[in-house]
């Protein structure tokens, strides 16, 4: 199956190193009703010079001034390593706790099947980062058995969000398998934030890479 392409105009808001930051003012296509999809009006889009197709004829109704005067609705992290939470203080706290917890697990023993769960009321982390099994099997069935009660509380809005930290072996598109810490949060609306940090075994223990990917709704705990 082929993918689709679409041409969209952005208003340039700033330049960071070699990258431009553009602000989108259009919705990409009809099937992007999925609220998780990052590209939406008001979203920041990083791009490089070789991405530029045209600069001369913005469409009728594309008011660059108006776009720039409106605060961007989805911010692209300028530094994914130090700002994984993209400004959400609760999320920031969670990532720190999860990171510490994950590293501790890695350093202290067999980490292949460990996971932890945190939860929040939306005000603070009520139970911080709760670990529920050092060597819990990570197959989906066992994992979901532990996670589902928490997800149910989220669905019932007793909790505003839940967070899960697990260790996964990821099969990359290149065919290489990599170990990674994966944290994802899920809020009452359904979707949240993924946080991925790869690591490898060394003679001294574990070597963790910088944050390699993080994506999702920036202010996940703002939802009521």
């Amino acid at each position: 199956m082929m993918g689709r392409i679409q041409r969209l105009w952005v208003a340039v808001s700033e330049r960071v190193d070699d990258y431009y930051i553009g602000i989108l003012n259009e919705h990409p296509a009809e099937n992007y009703a999925n609220r998780d999809f990052y590209l939406s009006p008001g979203a920041e889009v990083p791009f490089l010079s070789h991405h530029i197709v045209d600069i001369s004829r913005p469409p009728f109704g594309f008011d660059i001034r108006k776009v720039l005067q409106t605060n961007p609705k989805r911010l692209w992290s300028r530094d994914a390593q130090v700002q994984p939470s993209m400004g959400d203080p609760i999320l920031h706290e969670l990532f720190q706790l999860a990171d510490q917890n994950a590293i501790k697990r890695l350093q202290e023993g067999n980490c292949r099947s460990a996971f932890g769960i945190g939860r929040t009321t939306g005000q603070t982390w009520t139970d911080k980062f709760i670990t529920t099994g050092v060597d819990f099997p990570t197959d989906d069935e066992a994992f979901m058995e532990a996670v589902q009660p928490l997800q149910e509380q989220v669905r019932q809005r007793k909790l505003q969000a839940s967070a899960v930290c697990t260790y996964r072996q990821l099969q990359r598109t290149s065919g290489t398998a990599m170990n990674a810490i994966v944290i994802f949060l899920e809020n009452a609306v359904g979707y949240s934030v993924y946080w991925i940090r790869t690591y490898r075994t060394t003679s001294d223990g574990y070597e963790l890479d910088d944050l390699t990917a993080q994506f999702g709704e920036p202010l996940v705990f703002r939802h009521s």
């Binding site: 993918g3 969209l8 990052y38 889009v45 070789h50 530029i52 045209d54 600069i55 390593q81 990917a213």
Partner: protein, 70 residues
């Protein structure tokens, strides 16, 4: 900015299918897709300033069943 450090194929692996790199970053334009006016900007001879508009191509992969990382 650490965009260059992002492990893109790992990132794609874990995102909903629509969220390819090209969908977020903008796909590199082919020669015959680019307007003559954009060439100085695409080659770096000129730079866009705040308040100017740019047309980008976004590519998405087919919509499939939603996938979760766990």
């Amino acid at each position: 900015m650490r965009l260059a450090d992002l492990n893109y194929d790992l990132w794609q692996l874990l995102q909903p299918e629509e969220l390819t790199v090209d969908a977020v970053m903008g796909a590199a334009a082919l020669k015959n897709q680019r307007s003559p006016a954009a060439i100085p900007y695409a080659t770096g001879k000129k730079t866009l300033k705040r308040g100017e508009g740019a047309l980008l191509i976004f590519a998405s992969s087919p919509r499939q069943k939603r996938r979760r990382p766990v």
